[in-house]
């Protein structure tokens, strides 16, 4: 009897004590499972119907200003489709103007592109026969490439059939190019470095 009493008392206590954390753990696993289920369902839904919540803006504009509130560059596109989550903007008929004060230093034109409103990174790409092209002030410099990436500090990276022409000075081609665009107080293109199969003609070059 004593043994029965002992077991009945202690076992009920033990079971009671163990059941509490067990239930908590089970609840936690259940919640995790449910959350994963919902995320996967949402992702599946997103794949089936992408950018459901995307906002398309006509005549999209984005600009970057420096510390003195001077416009560093101004991006304009025919359309800009904004993804609310990533803040990426998919662009068409893009123009990026690099300014030195109120002077236009360089204009980059691309059929399509993408920018991010948070990071201000701009990725421009060609479409079909049309390449991304950059033209300096008074046509002194021309740059063409399959893709050009621009950061907010005027640095660029051009990839694929890069072709740069400095009027009456040099003409160079290569696989990849890095450098700065429309920097203040310098040339339209400065500190340009080309990598891979580079070929330059330096001197009086006919365009």
């Amino acid at each position: 009897m004593l043994l029965v009493e002992f077991f009945s008392r202690n076992s009920s206590k033990l079971i009671g004590a163990l059941s509490i954390p067990t239930i908590i753990v089970l609840f936690w696993f259940y919640a995790q499972y449910e959350a994963n289920q919902q995320v996967s369902e949402f992702n599946k839904a997103q794949k089936v119907r992408p950018n459901t919540d995307e906002t398309t803006i006509t005549n999209y504009e984005l600009k970057e200003v420096d510390d003195s509130n001077q416009v560093r560059w101004l991006l304009a596109a025919k359309t800009g489709a904004l993804e609310p989550v990533s803040h990426d903007v998919n662009l068409t008929d893009v123009h990026v103007d690099y300014m030195d004060g109120k002077t236009l230093k360089m204009r980059i034109t691309a059929p399509v592109g993408q920018t991010n409103e948070d990071t201000r990174l701009v990725k421009l790409a060609g479409l079909g026969d049309k390449q991304v092209s950059a033209c300096g002030e008074e046509g002194k410099v021309k740059l063409e490439a399959a893709k050009i990436e621009l950061d907010k500090k005027n640095q660029f990276q051009a990839v694929g059939n890069v072709n740069i022409v400095w009027s009456n000075a040099a003409k160079v081609i290569g696989d990849t190019a890095f450098g700065a665009l429309g920097s203040k107080g310098s040339n339209d293109l400065s500190n340009v470095k080309l990598i891979g199969h580079t070929h330059a003609l330096i001197g009086s070059v006919e365009e």
């Binding site: 293109l189 003609l201 330096i202």
Partner: protein
């Protein structure tokens, strides 16, 4: 009246002072104008004159290229092309003017330049684009075509080229002008010829001199041990037909095709055909047809041509005619290769003795004299002129000629060689003397036949018989026609020099000695 006079005097003084002031201002103005004209205007003109520009674009191919403000850096398998010049290098740096026009390119990592048939490589190559001038620094090696630009050759007919060369050959027969200081030759160490009036150059000095060509400058350039003969070039006729290149190794080289300039300095070693020259400096002189015509060597020049070696302070070498002019302490050495039959005797000793006994000369006892298989003729003078094609060599100014035991001295000497390059005759054309052990001849013209050792003295001749202390010579009072030469021992001298130490034979106009 007095007051009036005083006023007039004052007026005159004032007028004089004003005139002086005007003159002073005028002179000062003229001076200022002059200084402005002399100093300021040329400066402004110089500033306004534009720098020379490249007349064609520069083509650069590389793995990487970096365009900085005025510099273009190219890295990795760089190939730069400008007109007909192609430079390949691991790294290149191109400098541009503010308008972006290329001015200068510096190639590092042992670049190679090719310009038509011309080639240059060095540790560093500087290309001054506007002047089309290349400067090679450090282990510079170049191969410049002596035929000039092949494009020019293509335009010129072959006959024209031959005519030009023929003209040059005709010109080359001229005599040389004496230059350089006259210096007495200091006896070399270990010389056994203390009795001789001048030092006898040791055969061992240049014994190892005649070896195969060494194209690398790394070998000591001024050493007699590093020498060449380029025998292949001399024997191979097909090589002669091909355009010969001027191969130059040196520390520093400067080459400009447009201005016709090629300079090299520092341990210069040049090979052209069968001539090989070591010197401190080289300058190629180009003709109007763009071909290098003359090579000017300066400083410690050591030239090897066939079996000949010439050392001098300055050497001028005419590429087309293969004529070599040397000035300043010139010392030439020509190896006299003996016939094969001489060497096959098993001994290098040659039996000499009685030869034709003219004039009642007493026959000397037969003697043996050591004979080297390659006996050198050494000619020391202020200046020398050698022509490989004609085989003539003329020397002027304090000339000394050494051959075996014969020594000749005179102001002017002509050496004639046969087609094999062996010296046949040495002609002393002015008042000269020739010595042999125990004998000496002085005459207005002396001819030394090398092979037979026959000596022909002409014009106011004098013969001295000098006896040794053990065998004092006696005066040679009879006809001067009877003497034997050198190593063959004096037929009359040996017998007649028992009593007197010296004897003379004079009054003859022609002495012929056998």
């Amino acid at each position: 009246m007095k007051i009036n006079k005083h006023k007039k005097a004052t007026k005159k003084t004032l007028a004089k002072q004003s005139t002086i002031k005007r003159l002073t201002f005028f002179i000062a103005g003229v001076c200022l104008g002059f200084f402005q004209t002399v100093f300021l205007i040329p400066d402004s003109c110089a500033q306004s004159s534009p720098a020379p520009q490249a007349t064609a674009p520069i083509d650069i191919q590389a793995n990487e290229q970096e365009f900085l403000d005025s510099i273009v850096l190219a890295k990795g398998d760089v190939t730069v092309t400008y007109k007909d010049s192609i430079v390949k290098a691991p790294e290149a740096k191109l400098f541009r003017d503010p308008s972006g026009q290329p001015q200068k390119a510096i190639f590092v990592g042992h670049p190679f330049l090719t310009q038509n048939d011309n080639k240059i490589n060095a540790d560093t190559l500087i290309f001054e684009i506007a002047d089309s001038k290349f400067i090679a620094q450090g282990n510079a090696h170049s191969e410049v075509s002596s035929e000039g630009d092949t494009q020019l050759d293509a335009k010129a007919s072959p006959g024209k080229v031959n005519k030009i060369e023929n003209k040059k050959e005709n010109k080359s027969d001229g005599t040389i002008k004496a230059e350089g200081s006259t210096k007495n030759i200091v006896a070399s160490k270990g010389s056994n010829n203390s009795k001789q009036p001048f030092a006898w150059p040791q055969a061992s000095d240049d014994q190892n001199a005649f070896q195969k060509p060494v194209s690398n400058v790394a070998t000591s350039p001024h050493s007699d041990n590093t020498v060449e003969t380029s025998k292949k070039a001399s024997t191979d006729k097909t090589d002669k037909a091909a355009p010969e290149k001027i191969i130059t190794d040196s520390d520093y080289q400067e080459y400009s095709k447009e201005s016709g300039k090629f300079d090299a300095s520092g341990h210069v070693h040049v090979i052209h055909g069968e001539i090989s020259v070591f010197a401190d400096k080289l300058k190629l002189v180009y003709g109007t047809d763009g071909k290098p015509e003359t090579a000017l060597f300066n400083g410690h020049v050591n030239a090897f041509q066939g079996t000949s070696n010439t050392q001098a302070e300055m050497v001028t070498y005419y590429l087309a005619t293969k004529r070599l002019q040397a000035t300043g302490n010139v010392r030439s050495k020509m190896l006299q290769k003996q016939d094969g039959t001489d060497n096959k005797g098993g001994t290098n000793k040659k039996v000499v003795g009685t030869k034709p006994n003219a004039g009642g000369a007493i026959a000397a006892p037969t003697a043996t004299v050591p004979q080297n298989s390659e006996d050198p003729i050494i000619v020391v003078s202020d200046s020398q002129d050698m022509n490989q094609n004609t085989g003539k060599m003329s020397a002027e100014g304090n000339v000394r000629v050494y051959y075996q035991d014969m020594i000749g001295a005179g102001p002017k000497v002509l050496l004639l060689r046969n087609t094999d390059g062996r010296a046949e005759k040495v002609i002393f054309t002015e008042r000269s003397q020739v010595s042999q052990p125990g004998k000496r001849w002085i005459a207005d013209r002396i001819t030394m036949a090398i092979a037979t050792k026959k000596i022909l003295a002409e014009g106011n001749t004098k013969a001295f018989i000098i006896g040794s202390p053990s065998k004092p010579p006696s005066p040679q009072a009879n006809s001067a026609l009877a003497m034997t030469s050198g190593s063959k021992s004096a037929a009359t001298g040996a017998a007649a020099t028992d009593k007197n130490k010296t004897g003379t034979v004079a009054g003859s106009n022609k002495n012929e000695i056998y």
